[in-house]
Symmetry: C2
Subunit: 113 residues, 2 copies
């Protein structure tokens, strides 16, 4: 068993052409012995966004803090603390923070070794 604290987990900042003000933390993953599933935490700063993209694996998302926008193929929907999002494999998606506060969500994925 591994026990640790979220605020001790390494933060990786991502800021590029398709991504703005995103901080990623691998909360539980291969380094902990978890070979099948990875639990990540994403923190989007004010006006931040993840890439609008698709991939062949799913996302299991739970909003932990703040208020953001889930961008879908057919439009946009606001999501707030306590909301859950399931993104299917190969489904276009993006998460965006239009607010002035941090927007934070857990995103669980299968490990694609």
């Amino acid at each position: 068993m591994v026990i640790k604290k979220v605020n001790q987990v390494l933060k990786t900042k991502i800021d590029d052409e398709k991504t703005k003000s995103v901080t990623r933390q691998i909360l539980i993953g291969e380094d902990d012995g978890s070979d099948n599933i990875i639990m990540r935490l994403f923190t989007l700063g004010p006006k931040g966004y993840s890439p609008l993209h698709t991939h062949d694996f799913e996302h299991l998302v739970k909003v932990e803090k703040g208020r953001g926008i889930a961008v879908l193929e057919k439009g946009e929907q606001e999501i707030t603390e306590g909301d859950l999002v399931y993104v299917k494999p190969n489904e276009l998606h993006q998460f965006r923070n239009d607010s002035d506060e941090e927007f934070q969500f857990i995103c669980v994925i299968p490990n694609k070794k």
Copy 2:
């Protein structure tokens, strides 16, 4: 994409010889189209506990609220909001709430179809 709220998800109460004051919610699972991974939320009432047991799959746990005890093969450790626990397959474990407040954690597992 499926979007829904935690408080709209069915609550199943579990109270038997090995389990006390446990409420389980399947936040994201097969009914949402998630075939590989299941995200559950457990709420342990005051003095509640999950069974002391082992099984052949892992747990990825994030404490969402309150204060509990992780029971391990080699002893016990207190865990609080923001703590992460990885339980390996076949590892003996239990979660217990010695407090007078609710203790709540996410527990992600692989789907054992």
